[in-house]
C-alpha cells in the first residue's frame, strides 16, 4: 500500500460510481425490455390498444339504416361514409352519451355532434374536379361554372353540387336540392 494510496481511492471511487450506475439502471429500465429484441415489449401493446377512430360504414348503418341502404345500393357506394363525414368514433360516443374525456378536444370540436358536416361542395371536388394526371375513367368536370351552365342551370358563387346531386346515391334532381332525398335509394 506504499505510494499508491491515491490510486486505491480513485479505483474505489470508480467502483462506487459504476455500482451506482448499475443500481440505478436496474431500477429504471423496464423489466420487459430486451425480452424479445432491443425494445420494450409492452410498447407493442401500447400501440395496439389505441381505439380505431374510423368505425367503418357498416357500423353507421346501426343508426342510419335508410341512408346506408340508399348509399350501398346506389352508384356512390365506393367512397365510404367516413370519407366525407370524417371519423365516426366521437360521434357514436357523443350520441351514445359516453365519456369523451380521454380524447383530444380537436376531435370533438368539428361540430355539435362530433362528426364532420360536409359542405356538399368541397368533398365532391376532391374526386370530381378534373386534374390532368387523373385516370380518365372517373367522371370529372373541368369547372363548376361550366358544368352548371352546360346543364342550363344558374351559376352563382354560392352554388353547390348538392343543389342538384344527391351525394349518397348520385341521383340528380335538378331544381330541387339533392339533400331532400338523402335516404331515397336510386331506382
Amino acid at each position: 500500500m506504499r505510494h499508491a494510496a491515491h490510486f486505491a481511492r480513485l479505483v474505489a471511487l470508480v467502483a462506487v460510481a459504476v455500482a451506482g450506475f448499475l443500481f440505478v439502471r436496474s431500477k429504471v429500465v423496464p423489466k420487459d425490455f430486451g425480452v424479445k429484441g432491443h425494445y420494450r415489449l409492452s410498447a407493442i401493446a401500447d400501440e395496439a390498444k389505441r381505439e380505431p377512430r374510423h368505425i367503418g360504414s357498416a357500423d353507421c348503418a346501426d343508426c342510419h339504416s335508410e341512408i346506408y341502404e340508399a348509399w350501398s345500393t346506389g352508384k356512390h357506394h365506393i367512397p365510404q361514409c367516413e370519407n366525407c363525414h370524417g371519423p365516426g368514433l366521437m360521434h357514436t360516443k357523443v350520441v351514445g352519451e359516453e365519456s369523451t374525456a380521454a380524447y383530444p378536444d380537436k376531435m370533438l370540436k368539428v361540430s355539435k355532434l362530433a362528426i364532420r358536416r360536409p359542405t356538399g361542395f368541397t368533398e365532391c371536388k376532391w374526386c370530381h374536379l378534373k386534374t390532368f394526371e387523373r385516370p380518365s375513367t372517373l367522371k370529372s368536370i373541368a369547372s363548376v361554372e361550366q358544368h352548371i351552365t352546360q346543364h342550363n342551370g344558374k351559376y352563382t358563387p354560392d352554388s353547390k353540387c348538392v343543389d342538384c346531386h344527391n351525394p349518397h346515391t348520385t341521383l340528380v334532381t335538378p331544381g330541387k336540392s339533392g339533400l331532400a332525398f338523402l335516404s331515397q335509394a336510386a331506382k
Binding site: 499508491a4 467502483a15 459504476v18 448499475l22 425494445y39 410498447a43 401500447d46 395496439a48 374510423h54 376532391w126
Partner: protein
C-alpha cells in the same frame, strides 16, 4: 541475504497489489449488480420462445405487406385526410402523402405534394410547386404516387436508434416506443424515404404504423379503407389466399430506392423511373 530489490520494483508491486485488492473488492460488489441489471435471467428467455412456438402453431405466423397501385390513384387525397384523422397526425407533418408527377414536352418533370395532397390536387392551394415558365404549357402525361412508411426488412431507422425506441414486431411492422424515445431525430435523418418526423406534441419520433391499432383488431388501415380507387392494398403476405398475395403473384412490383438495400415491404405497381 538476498539482493535488495530496486525501489521501482517495490513500488510497482505494491501499486498493483493495492489496485488489485481494492479493485477486486469493488468488482465483486459491482458484479452482483451486473448480474441483476444487465444479464437476462434464464426464465425470462423461456416464455418468449414458448409463446412464439404456440403462436406459430396457432397459425399466427402473420407477415404484413402493402401494395400501392399507382396506376389507379386518382389523387383525391382521401387517404391523407383519413390518416390524419385516424392517428391525430399534427399539421405540417404526414404519415402518408400523395405525390403528383407532371411531364412536359421538353422532358421536364414537375413533382408536387401540396400539404401532402390533403386537399386533393384539383384545388391544391398556393403551396403548389410550379416553375413559372411551365405554367401555361400543356403537359403530356402525369400520374399520382401515394407514399407511406415502407416498413423495411433491413430498417436503417431501427439500426440507428440509440436507445431501442424504434423496433419491429413479429409481423414486420416498424413501430416507435414513445416512452423511450429521447427525440434525437437520428431515425428521421436515417430514413431514405422521408417517412419519419419528430412529432412536436410528443417530441418523439413518429411515422406511419400501418394502423397497427386497427390491423390487430381485424380492420384495415384507414388509408386503405378510405381509398375509393383501390390503389392501396394491405394484408397478410404469408397467406397465399389473401388479396395481397394474389396481387403480388400476378403483377410486376417495384420498391423505392432498392439500391439502398433496405428491402421495403411496401411494394409499388406502376412506378416510373422519375419516381425517386
Amino acid at each position: 541475504m538476498t539482493t535488495p530489490q530496486t525501489s521501482d520494483d517495490v513500488t510497482r508491486r505494491d501499486f498493483l497489489e493495492t489496485v488489485a485488492k481494492t479493485g477486486g473488492q469493488s468488482f465483486l460488489f459491482g458484479s452482483m449488480f451486473v448480474n441483476t441489471a444487465l444479464l437476462r435471467l434464464p426464465q425470462d428467455a423461456a416464455p418468449a420462445s414458448a409463446k412464439a412456438k404456440a403462436d406459430a402453431e396457432a397459425g399466427k405466423g402473420i407477415i404484413y405487406g402493402f401494395v400501392v397501385d399507382t396506376t389507379k390513384c386518382i389523387g383525391c387525397g382521401s387517404c391523407v385526410r383519413a390518416c390524419r384523422a385516424e392517428n391525430g397526425v399534427p399539421d405540417g407533418y404526414n404519415r402518408t402523402w400523395v405525390e403528383q408527377y407532371t411531364f412536359y414536352p421538353n422532358g421536364e418533370v414537375v413533382v408536387n405534394s401540396p400539404v401532402g395532397g390533403e386537399n386533393g390536387f384539383a384545388e391544391p392551394g398556393p403551396t403548389r410547386n410550379m416553375p413559372a415558365e411551365l405554367a401555361t404549357v400543356q403537359p403530356v402525361r402525369g400520374f399520382f404516387v401515394p407514399k407511406l412508411c415502407n416498413h423495411c426488412i433491413d430498417t436503417p431507422c431501427i439500426q440507428v436508434c440509440p436507445v431501442g425506441a424504434s423496433f419491429k414486431t413479429d409481423e414486420g411492422v416498424v413501430l416507435v416506443d414513445h416512452e423511450r424515445c429521447v427525440g434525437c431525430a437520428y431515425c428521421v435523418q436515417a430514413c431514405p424515404f422521408g417517412s419519419r418526423y419528430l412529432n412536436p406534441d410528443t417530441m418523439t419520433a413518429d411515422k406511419c404504423t400501418w394502423c397497427y391499432h386497427r390491423i390487430t383488431k381485424g380492420k384495415l388501415p384507414a388509408c386503405v379503407v378510405s381509398c375509393p380507387a383501390e390503389a392501396r392494398i394491405f394484408g397478410n403476405v404469408s397467406d397465399p389466399t389473401s388479396k395481397i398475395s394474389q396481387i403480388l403473384a400476378t403483377n410486376r412490383v417495384q420498391v423505392l430506392k432498392s439500391y439502398l438495400g433496405t428491402r421495403p415491404r411496401t411494394r409499388y405497381i406502376g412506378l416510373d423511373s422519375e419516381v425517386i
